[in-house]
């Protein structure tokens, strides 16, 4: 019995990152390093118009004047930005007319990831834009979407085909000069997704982007822009994985959301970049700026994230509540194990009147990891009757990990009502005992309790994501108890 238990434990603790395969496809890469040449190279590769190159160069020049931020509760060796390949595209035959023409290697990659493009197309009715390394390889369901007027395409396509929209909205929520990583992203972003929901349209299906870093030493810098016009609705999913490599890889993305009057955008992420091995070697450095603006009255933006991967996570999906009566939500589960470090949270900036926001953050730390929640709730002078409720709970599994909370609350209006609460706890022995007594082994009991702890957030995820996220949660924490 004892021996059997140890076997199970052994098996579980050595369970590995199952998305860590490398796909053997030839890639078209930019030379290592970052310079004006690199920026021009990327722009030229993508046949971009002059104004786009200007935008990139401006961002690059600004980036040169900036310093990497050090305020986060993260410790990592400094990144050599000259040692990164800023552009890597899977080599493929000219233009594709149908999904069948996609490189079979590439397609099997996505099948392994569980997002077989054509299967998705047939069965689940989710439109997928898959971004591998730096470029968008396929967008499914385009036709059907275009019938209702929804534009869902890769960023490079959008630059060419909808320049007026890109010019108007790109950088309108997250300016290139916002911070070190947005400047870097604005200079070298290679692809991403663009999504436009016209007035009065409820997007008939969930839109989804899948990101994957494949080539070694590359950084991925994607850019997502979602514009929801008046009274429209869209639910957007994002997933990410990467192969296992010993070196750290860089990922610096920017996501922008614009919600007009009465529009609603729901953005869900399951982030599962390679977290590094048990000794903390390798893994993705994930520096992401995500921000939405509730530009019109009665608009709503909701962020849901399940963060299980990356060796370093630096990510604060934010909402600017500009329109009156606008609503923002942030639901997050962040899991760190082994040597992972996460510094994540949100910013809610209340500007309009009668705005409401809600923050639910659950942090789970195991192994030797550090998990921080960092958030800001700001109520401006004229934001009458603003309302916020924040809850951030942490759970510690083991005595070598750390949980931290840094909530900033700044209120300048005397009609505001802001509440914040946080707790830290561990799984109680009595809880485990209760489950054991009812015939559940300890491992299952822990999974059960963790899932209960994170349920409030999991419930916010779209169905097919929720299942995956729940499994991920269990896998990420396997072997961390006992």
């Amino acid at each position: 019995m004892q021996e059997e238990n140890e076997d199970i434990l052994e098996q579980i603790t050595t369970s590995e990152y199952k998305y860590g395969f490398v796909t053997d496809i030839e890639a078209d890469e930019a030379p290592k390093g970052l310079s004006e040449e690199t920026v021009r190279f990327i722009s030229a590769k993508k046949n971009e118009p002059e104004w786009m190159l200007e935008y990139r160069l401006k961002a690059y020049r600004h980036w040169l004047t900036m310093e990497e931020p050090t305020w986060a509760n993260l410790h990592y060796p400094s990144i050599n930005y000259q040692d990164v390949i800023y552009y890597s595209a899977p080599k493929q035959k000219v233009s594709l007319s149908s999904l069948d023409e996609i490189d079979p290697e590439l397609r099997s990659t996505f099948e392994k990831l569980g997002i077989s493009l054509d299967e998705q197309k047939r069965l689940s009715g989710v439109a997928v834009d898959a971004v591998m390394d730096s470029v968008s390889v396929a967008t499914t369901f385009k036709e059907e979407l275009s019938k209702v007027g929804v534009i869902f395409c890769s960023m490079s396509e959008a630059v060419k085909e909808h320049p007026e929209l890109i010019k108007k909205y790109l950088g309108s929520v997250v300016p290139a000069t916002d911070n070190f990583f947005t400047a870097l992203n604005s200079a070298v972003f290679s692809d991403g997704s663009f999504c436009f929901i016209p007035k009065g349209v409820r997007c008939p299906m969930e839109l989804s982007t899948y990101f994957r870093i494949n080539a070694a030493n590359t950084g991925q810098f994607e850019r997502t822009l979602i514009v929801a016009e008046e009274s429209s609705y869209v639910s957007y999913l994002e997933g990410c994985t990467a192969p296992m490599r010993d070196e750290n890889q860089l990922h610096a993305a920017v996501v922008e959301i614009v919600a007009m009057e009465k529009a609603e955008v729901k953005y869900s992420t399951v982030q599962n970049w390679y977290p590094g091995d048990k000794e903390g070697k390798g893994g993705i450095y994930n520096f992401v700026t995500k921000r939405g603006i509730c530009a019109g009255d009665h608009s709503k933006i909701s962020w849901t994230q399940v963060e299980t991967g990356s060796s370093i996570t630096w990510k604060y999906p934010s909402v600017i509540l500009k329109g009156d009566y606008s609503i923002a939500e942030f639901y997050s589960v962040a899991v760190t194990n082994n040597f992972q470090q996460a510094d994540t949270g949100t910013k809610m900036v209340h500007l309009g009147k009668n705005t409401r926001s809600r923050i639910v953050s659950k942090g789970i730390s195991a192994g030797k990891s550090q998990n921080s929640y960092r958030g800001l709730v700001s109520v401006a002078k004229n934001a009458d009757n603003a309302r916020n409720f924040s809850q951030c709970d942490s759970m510690l599994l083991g005595d070598k990990c750390g949980a931290h909370t840094f909530p900033y609350i700044e209120v300048k209006n005397n009609t505001a009502q802001v509440e914040h609460e946080a707790t830290t706890s561990k799984i109680g022995e009595d809880q485990i005992f209760y489950c054991n007594q009812r015939g559940l082994d300890t491992e299952t009991a822990v999974a059960l309790i963790i899932n209960g702890f994170a349920k409030e957030v999991m419930n916010q995820l779209p169905m097919e994501f929720a299942v995956e996220a729940q499994k991920l949660l269990a896998i990420s924490l396997e072997g961390s108890v006992g």
Partner: protein, 429 residues
């Protein structure tokens, strides 16, 4: 002004210390490296402390001989009295009623050279690692003018020790830097009350550091009361080291001032320590009060509870930052923290940052904070019973502040503070 130059000059001019020379010098060096904190400094994000160090500030750390008259704190007429004038310990004005041998009060510089030298060496400057911002070091550079207070083991003081910080600012802007080192022997029990008075109406700034060590089974009640007036600014650090099974209660009440910064550190160095922290800031005008607290749990089985309440009227601003650290070995820690704010004034603001940093798993920690307005329904209820709007609001706010007031066990002092608060709220029933 060039603060580093200014204070280096002042340092050269101060009367030389007998035994604290090395300590002062190392602090001056630290200050010269760090300078004054800018608002980019995370710990000073909301408080523009640099603006207070402006031209016209005088700093002459020598005892003034002039006759000083000041009002004693109501409700504590029967008490041991320790007096600082312009930041320097004044033995002439100090008056102890406690039986001799129970407590020792003497200049810090003297203590550093006599039988208590060991204690001074061990505890003086312990707070510096918690405040790497120049302000703490600046005080340290002029520490010799401070006082050493020792309550002997097993002594239970019948009357509190009231420390008066008198600022003689009748003629010009005054800067002062009081320094206190307190020591409670094993199983001793004492109350220390700090209060601030100024004799004139010129601007003043005091930068205080009080460090205390509470030995095994000892019991300390510490009260800090600020009601000095709108022309006075203050930065102060209260740093309490708690040894085994020590129990401390700290109550910080800020009623007025220009810019006030209170640091309160509870260092739980041994098992089974217990600390209770209460704070009340009732502000109006342009007053800004910034409360920073640290509870550093280093060993298992400690308990801490914290409740800070703020009422901000007019254009005042209340800041709260509460840190709870639970180190790796501090299993079975229970730490609770709560911060509640009511915004009354149209231009009032509240900034709060409750912060938990936890490295042990078997702990119970929680924090909560709220910022809001008075409950409309409660107001309506009172109004419906014929209570005027002013009185209804005052009644609710008074009750809100009551949670903190009732922690003061000295009835006379509690009544006095209650009167101050009622007056402020124009409470007339």
């Amino acid at each position: 002004m060039d603060a580093i130059q200014f204070f280096t000059d002042a340092y050269a001019q101060q009367s030389s210390s007998l035994h604290l020379h090395a300590f002062q010098q190392s602090n001056l060096d630290a200050f010269s490296t760090m300078g004054l904190p800018a608002i980019k400094h995370e710990e000073w994000k909301y408080t523009k402390i640099r603006n207070l160090f402006k031209d016209g500030l005088t700093y002459t750390p020598t005892l003034s001989n002039s006759e000083i008259k000041f009002q004693t704190l109501k409700g504590t007429e029967e008490a041991n009295r320790i007096v600082f004038v312009n930041g320097l310990y004044n033995a002439a004005l100090t008056h102890l009623i406690e039986a001799e041998g129970n407590i020792v009060v003497k200049p810090l510089d003297t203590a550093a050279g006599d039988e208590d030298a060991e204690l001074v060496k061990k505890h003086l400057g312990h707070s510096k690692d918690y405040h790497l911002d120049g302000i703490n070091a600046l005080n340290g550079a002029f520490a010799a003018g401070g006082v050493f207070i020792k309550v002997k083991p097993n002594v239970v003081l019948t009357q509190p020790i009231v420390i008066y910080h008198v600022t003689d600012n009748a003629n010009g802007m005054i800067f002062s830097q009081p320094r206190i080192l307190g020591y409670l022997g094993k199983n001793a029990e004492a109350t220390i009350i700090e209060t601030y008075v100024s004799t004139g109406n010129s601007e003043s700034l005091s930068n205080e550091v009080i460090e205390m060590c509470v030995e095994r089974d000892a019991n300390l009640l510490y009260i800090k009361l600020q009601n000095e007036g709108a022309h006075s600014s203050h930065t102060g650090t209260t740093h309490i080291r708690q040894l085994e099974k020590a129990m401390t209660q700290a109550i910080t009440i800020s009623l007025s001032g220009a810019i006030v910064r209170n640091n309160l550190n509870m260092i739980m160095e041994a098992e089974y320590g217990e600390s209770h922290m209460y704070g009340l800031y009732l502000l109006n005008g342009n007053t800004q009060v910034d409360n920073h607290t640290i509870v550093d749990n280093q060993m298992p089985h400690c308990f801490s509870n914290e409740l800070y309440k703020g009422i901000m009227d007019d254009s005042s601003s209340g800041i709260f930052n509460g840190k709870i650290f639970v180190r790796k070995d501090a299993q079975k820690t229970n730490a609770y923290q709560s911060n509640k704010n009511v915004l009354i004034g149209a231009n009032a603001s509240a900034n709060t940052k409750p912060q938990l940093e936890i490295f042990a798993d078997d702990v119970k920690c929680s924090h909560g904070c709220t910022i809001g307005k008075l409950d409309e329904e409660a107001l309506f209820y009172l109004r419906a019973r014929g209570i005027s709007e002013t009185n209804a609001k005052a009644l609710l706010l008074h009750a809100f502040a009551g949670d903190i007031l009732q922690q003061i066990k000295y009835e006379g002092l509690r009544t006095h503070i209650d009167e101050l608060i009622s007056e402020r709220l124009s409470f007339q029933i």
